[in-house]
């Protein structure tokens, strides 16, 4: 598993107690605030290539990252 996928999956579990939308937004915000752009780009590549490796919540968050 790529480090980016592993990391976002780890983050996702921490937000699972919140509703899907709130959680996805919080995860996306976290990633924007702390990740280097090349890591975000790699994550988005993984989203396209192997969406099944992402936790569904992580996937929802990752999709938010494509919009600015």
């Amino acid at each position: 598993m790529s480090p980016q996928v592993r990391m976002i999956n780890d983050i996702a579990v921490q937000f699972r107690h919140q509703g899907l939308d709130t959680a996805a937004a919080a995860i996306a915000e976290h990633v924007r605030a702390f990740w280097d752009p090349r890591m975000r780009a790699e994550l988005l590549r993984r989203v396209d290539a192997e969406p099944e490796s992402l936790d569904p919540l992580a996937l929802a968050a990752a999709l938010l990252l494509t919009s600015p």
Partner: protein, 923 residues
């Protein structure tokens, strides 16, 4: 500066306002109630002769030298044990007193080897001084009677001798060991003429002594004396500076003779330590002059080549050219650097500035990534700023002290001594740790509760504690209503049955009743303070746990005054400072996000450079990017990532993949094996700057000697930036601090001038708090209202299995420090010559392991061998080791799991198996 002799007022200060007025030899003085006559006299400039009294210890009243006469009182009371009363009139010199004192001195001197001229304490001996002070002219008893002059000297300690023949049985050492250090290693054995100091019937080295030196400092004669003084002679000048080991930040007088450092004496005015120290700061400074130190820059084309010593200009030009070349070929973001928490604020600041302004990216991180980054994240989310809330002194006001995942007696010994003093006075102690650390039970201290949880279950425990507080109606509603937000959502979450002590009991291994009792005590026992360490942060839910502790503190109203708070015990000397200085890839100095256009604009103006608005790579991401090829060069300031970071094989692969590794350090460490440029660094004795300790205290580090390498570290960094085409020049480190102050609101009032005047200040230090802020969040939280954050317990991915049935946890030991680069190069190795694996006797027995056997420690990622030590302070199923020695390389076995929010590695939970290295030899 000439040798600084600090005045000794004889007995400790008493708190409170000065309200009692007395007259000493006709001079008026007003002092706080409870002050001794001796101290009152000293405060008006009159030194009453004394031998058994010193102001670091409570008066004892044994030597009878300090007698005075008091109007209206019969006899000649001892001034050290007599408290002042209003209107008292004292006489310190009368013919009667003189006679009495001379009589006392005669007795002492008749049993003392009179070799003053060749004595190591000549010039610094209170017995000598007092003979003069009392006007001793003759010893009528002769020197031939029974005496102690043939007593043997104990030289077993590597740093000091105990020359028993010179002991005057004043008990100062015994009291220092108990009162100041809290170890109680010394006693007076026997009575009367037979009485003598004993280290528990053994020599010092094999006693309980932890070599803190408090007794040496307290001894008025040459009896307890530093070996360095015996060998080199009395020092003649001193420089006040700061210890470079742990985050306590003790102040010392570095005492020299000419250019040679003779000894380090803890400074009584030091805000963090108030005259105390531990074995490292006081004695383990020899590494600074160790022959292993590299003093000349070196370069090489490939890491398989021999190092080539070069001059500074060549090294700097080579480094700058290589860095620019890599950027031309692979992009601006292909290079980065790591700052060091072992260096000064000023040195850290210039490195992150070089990276942001000259490299043109935010690829800067610091070793705090692998220790306290969750503190930064967690406290910022809840309180609004990522720093400990109290000063160390505040522990004296605590009623219930909760120590979580920290071992202060080994990791933060001088703070531990303060804490132990408070515990002896009656504060209650709750320890949350898988191991039975020394604090749980030590002389005169016993924890009320030891929650001996399974590694990795911190969050479950803190939630259970909060659950009890909430469901049993122990919340401080006034505090919560007035000062916090998001309480109701949190309350709903924490009240869930799954957070109850009963529900988590099986998981954590802690009996529910024990958790309930601890929670009740914390919520109702008065001022409750939380102190924590890497046993909290170095987990895959480290940040969650920090927020969990903050929730608990807010729910019980334990924030914003003396004796309470949430307090990270920082590891290295300048962890706080390196974070403050903007070493994180997403934050500029002062914890401001790089995406904030206004803040970035301020820096861009001052630095004359365009700054990136996107965060850069963190250390573990740098390693990943090195392996995938998008990251090509790394500048490493004073860190040994090849030994200290987790999953070493991965780190080594990443380092080997880089085109350029620049190491700035004292020694050719493990990381230097992968380096192309070695830039020799300066030791703390050569540095000029500041360190910020765990209580946000900014302490001056003053140069005791000129840099042995010919250059300050900040100079080298500035020259590399210049050579890369970015103008950067400073005349002094004080100028760098001025720039920091101009750019960082919490540092606005800090300058070397102010630090020299006040000794130290705790940030925030600005117009609102010109002399600093010892206690944070007094009237409101930094973020306005304190925020309750929900902290669900998510177990770590790392589980024990049949193949790896044990859990390894790591920590440190008193005598060694971090990866041991410094302490291994001192006599401290006498206490800890190698890393060992502590294992419970039961776990050992089922594996056929005996004490001292060589064992193999294996995890999913690696294996190493080391010696096993049977220890029943370990719980069954958990083993423990330190990472002070590169040979063992405990990080060979640690995994890539890390804190979800910050990537702080999960050093504290690794599933392992342990077996005999060669079962055939087990017998």
């Amino acid at each position: 500066m000439s040798l600084l002799k600090e005045p000794d007022l004889g007995t400790p200060a008493r708190p409170g306002p000065a309200t009692v007025s007395i007259e000493v030899d006709g001079l008026p003085v007003t002092v706080p109630e409870g002050t001794s006559v001796m101290r009152a006299a000293a405060l008006c400039g009159i030194d009453v002769p004394k031998l058994c009294a010193t102001d670091s210890l409570e008066a004892f009243g044994s030597c009878r030298l300090c007698l005075v006469e008091i109007d209206g009182r019969r006899g000649t009371p001892a001034s050290c044990t007599t408290p002042v009363t209003d209107g008292m009139r004292v006489r310190t010199q009368t013919p009667k007193l003189e006679k009495l004192r001379q009589g006392v001195m005669e007795l002492y001197i008749s049993d003392h080897p009179l070799d003053c001229l060749t004595c190591s304490a000549n010039g610094d001996c209170e017995l000598q001084d007092m003979s003069g002070a009392v006007g001793l002219r003759q010893v009528r008893y002769g020197y031939d009677g029974a005496n102690h002059r043939d007593e043997k000297t104990d030289t077993s300690n590597p740093y000091f001798d105990f020359e028993a023949s010179k002991c005057i049985s004043c008990s100062r050492c015994v009291r220092a060991c108990g009162e100041v250090q809290g170890t109680f290693a010394l006693t007076i054995e026997g009575r009367g003429f037979e009485s003598k100091v004993s280290a528990g019937g053994t020599d010092f080295m094999s006693s309980e002594c932890v070599s803190c030196g408090a007794c040496v400092q307290a001894c008025p004669t040459a009896t307890l004396q530093e070996k360095s003084v015996i060998q080199l002679g009395m020092p003649s000048r001193s420089v006040i500076t700061t210890c470079a080991y742990c985050g306590v930040g003790c102040s010392f007088k570095a005492e020299l003779r000419g250019a040679e450092l003779v000894r380090m004496v803890p400074y009584k005015d030091g805000g963090a330590n108030e005259g105390h120290s531990c074995v490292k700061g006081r004695f383990a400074f020899g590494y600074a002059t160790h022959p292993d130190r590299v003093l000349t820059p070196m370069v090489r084309a490939r890491i398989t080549d021999e190092w080539q010593p070069v001059d500074w200009d060549t090294a700097i030009a080579f480094t700058a050219a290589k860095l620019r070349d890599i950027q031309t070929r692979h992009g601006v973001a292909a290079i980065g650097g790591i700052t060091s928490s072992r260096t000064t604020n000023e040195e850290v600041y210039v490195v992150q500035k070089m990276i942001r302004a000259a490299f043109g990216n935010n690829n800067v991180d610091t070793c705090a990534r692998v220790c306290h980054s969750p503190t930064g994240y967690g406290l910022k989310q809840t309180f609004g700023t990522s720093a400990g809330t109290q000063d160390f002194r505040s522990v004296a006001e605590s009623d219930v002290i909760m120590v979580i995942g920290a071992n202060p007696t080994d990791g933060h010994p001088v703070f531990a001594s303060r804490m132990k003093r408070r515990l002896r006075e009656g504060a209650q102690l709750i320890v949350i740790d898988p191991r039975r650390i020394d604090l749980v039970r030590s002389p005169h201290i016993e924890a009320r509760h030891h929650l001996q949880l399974a590694p990795g279950t911190n969050v479950a425990i803190v939630n259970a504690l909060a659950h009890v507080v909430l469901t049993e109606g122990l919340v401080d509603r006034t505090f919560v209503d007035e000062r916090c937000e998001d309480f109701d959502d949190w309350a709903e979450f924490i009240a869930c049955a799954e957070n109850s002590p009963e529900a988590v009991e099986e998981l954590t291994g802690v009996p529910a009743e024990e958790v309930r009792a601890a929670a009740r005590l914390f919520a109702t026992g008065g001022n409750g303070a939380i102190y924590y360490g890497l046993g909290v942060t170095e987990h895959s839910q480290g940040s969650t746990m920090v927020m969990g502790m903050a929730n608990l503190a807010m729910a019980t109203g334990n924030i914003g005054r003396e004796g309470v708070g949430v307090n990270p015990l920082r590891g290295q000397n300048n962890v706080q400072g390196s974070c403050d200085m903007g070493s994180f890839p997403h934050e500029l100095p002062g914890y401001r996000h790089v995406s904030d256009d206004v803040v970035r604009g301020v820096f861009e103006n001052m630095w004359g450079s365009t700054l990136q608005a996107e965060p850069g790579l963190r250390i573990p991401n740098m390693f990943d990017a090195a392996i995938d090829g998008s990251f090509r060069a790394l500048y490493v300031q004073g860190e040994d990532i090849a030994q200290s970071d987790p999953n070493i094989k991965h780190v080594h692969a990443a380092l080997a993949a880089l085109e350029l590794v620049v190491v700035q350090d004292l020694f050719l460490n493990e990381t230097a094996k992968f380096a192309h440029v070695f830039l020799p660094g300066t030791s703390f004795l050569e540095k000029d700057g500041t360190f910020t300790n765990a209580e946000r205290r900014i302490n001056r580090v003053r140069p005791v000697m000129a840099p042995k390498t010919g250059k300050h570290e900040w100079q080298i960094v500035a020259e590399i930036a210049q050579a890369m085409g970015y103008p950067m020049h400073y005349d002094s480190s004080s100028q760098i601090m001025d720039e920091i102050a101009a750019l960082t609101p919490t540092f606005a009032g800090v300058s070397f001038e102010k630090l020299d005047k006040l000794g130290s200040v705790q940030w925030p230090c600005n117009d609102n708090a010109p002399e600093g802020t010892p206690i944070m969040h007094r009237d409101g939280f930094v973020r306005g209202r304190g925020r309750f954050v929900q902290t669900p317990f998510v177990p770590t991915r790392e589980r024990s299995t049949r193949k790896y049935p044990l859990i390894l946890t790591t920590g440190r030991i008193l005598s060694q420090y971090n990866v041991g680069a410094q302490t291994r190069r001192t006599a401290n190795v006498a206490w800890h010559p190698e890393d060992v694996l502590e294992i419970h006797p039961h776990d050992a027995e089922v594996r056929g392991i005996r004490d001292g056997d060589e064992v193999m420690l294996t995890s999913r990622v690696g294996a190493t061998s080391l010696r096993a030590v049977l220890a029943d302070r370990m719980p069954v199923g958990v083993v423990y080791t330190t990472f002070h020695h590169p040979v063992t390389g405990a990080n060979v076995v640690t995994t890539e799991n890390s804190d979800w929010a910050t990537n702080c590695p999960e050093y504290k939970v690794t599933a392992v198996q342990v077996g005999l290295t060669s079962p055939a030899m087990a017998g």
